[in-house]
Symmetry: C2
Subunit: 232 residues, 2 copies
DNA sequence: TTACTGTTTATTGAAGACAATATACAATAG
DNA sequence: CTATTGTATATTGTCTTCAATAAACAGTAA
């Protein structure tokens, strides 16, 4: 028998809002009215407020005392900070693998195989991209998990929604996505051969490459998306 | 006129509990009864529950659905993870300084001067140590702040309570504290001279040195502190 | 016409009450 | 005597209500 997961209203509300923010349906800067949101989601305010605390921590919303909560703004600066943090965590994960002499990463390999068979998204539509990006992300998530530091893991999971938001809003570069697969395979191979230093450098430049592209895209599109109050 | 800070009940309760957990008055593993805590603090349960969400994120408590919240257990493993994360953040901060070519760190220097004039604590009493440790910590906090990445900063502040807890519970090594001052000065000097690589390595071995000492202490004292339900 | 002040309204902050669930204990059956 | 099941109690999860604060608007004075 599978153990059925007990999930609180707070957590499912947090997850709900998380996805809507990532997918851009809750636009940057948008005010989150507690009463309105609570009745739209069919719950009461206390669990919603607890969910706000969770999202606040993930930097998806900002809470201003006595004023309310707002969806975090997006900017090239913020994007850079996110990718810097990402570089830090992933590269350090490789360092931990090196320190522990871990070469075999079965979960990471499995994640790679899943992506290899997946069809490429055919449009820049957020919904279509979402699954594909999630599959690609799995490589990085498993890599960090393999380092065996639960706090690192937690950090990375806290970072990911912010990262996913930028990826969902801006990136649609088929060629780059395709190259990701090759690069990921290369990184895994380097680790398996014990060449952690090169693996780390390939990983680092891979991440920095994405950052550069994202920053360009953000600067090009002055107004990323002005729509708000979309029905959902 | 100074701007008087508006602080919510949620935040002050979180800060209150944070300090009590760090100082060990709320012992590891202890169950946190919502009703009992709320009336002891003279508040109601909703803000307490929101504070729980904040502390949960700082890894100071764990929340088990339908069971309640417990003060996080301490262990050599957990201590190692904390110090690994610390190493990651601080070393990456130096890398960011390097990338940006920042050599002047006035705030870090100021923190060093404060510590230089401070008297050493004369006992291992948590309360006496607390202020001294906080002053020493300021060096590291300012260093990370100087890197100019707000997310990194946030991570480090989220990490610090856990770190402070272990330092408060175990470490009382006057010689080491004294040496900290020297090492901190050395690191600052190296950065000012643009020798980021050596600065990073000194910093890294400094942090790892503390970890080794902490791990030894934890292993020696099998039962760190068995007292619980202390009056406060 | 503009700026300042007072009032009103809407929204967040906090509290108390109710419902659901988990744990512990006791009773009964094997 | 032991194990299992049922019940009771205590505690968490959620909802509804009340209070305090902030923002917006209008009115008056300069």
């Amino acid at each position: 028998m599978e153990t059925l997961s007990v999930t609180s209203v707070t957590e499912s509300v947090a997850q709900n809002l998380r996805i809507h923010i990532i997918e851009g349906e809750l636009a940057p800067g948008q005010k989150l009215n507690e009463l309105e949101l609570a009745e739209r989601l069919g719950i009461s305010r206390p669990p919603l407020r607890e969910a706000f605390r969770i999202l606040e921590n993930a930097h998806l919303i900002v809470s201003i005392p006595r004023k309310g909560c707002y969806v975090t703004e997006v900017s090239a600066d913020s994007c850079r900070e996110i990718y810097e943090e990402r570089e830090m965590i992933e590269c350090f994960a490789v360092e931990l693998l090196q320190a522990k002499g871990i070469r075999e990463l079965p979960e990471v390999g499995a994640a790679l195989e899943v992506t290899a068979d997946l069809p490429m998204p055919t449009s820049s539509d957020a919904y279509e991209k979402f699954d594909y990006l999630k599959a690609i992300a799995d490589f990085h998530i498993r890599l960090v998990e393999s380092a065996g530091n639960s706090r690192l893991n937690h950090c990375y999971h806290a970072l990911f929604p912010s990262l996913a938001r930028y990826q969902s809003m801006y990136t649609y570069i088929p060629g780059l996505m395709n190259r990701s697969q090759e690069i990921h395979e290369k990184i895994l191979g380097l680790i398996e051969r014990g060449d952690y230093d090169r693996a780390k450098e390939v990983l680092r430049s891979h991440i920095r490459g994405f950052l550069t592209l994202m920053e360009d895209e953000i600067r090009q599109t002055a107004e990323p998306q002005t729509e708000s109050l979309s029905e959902w």
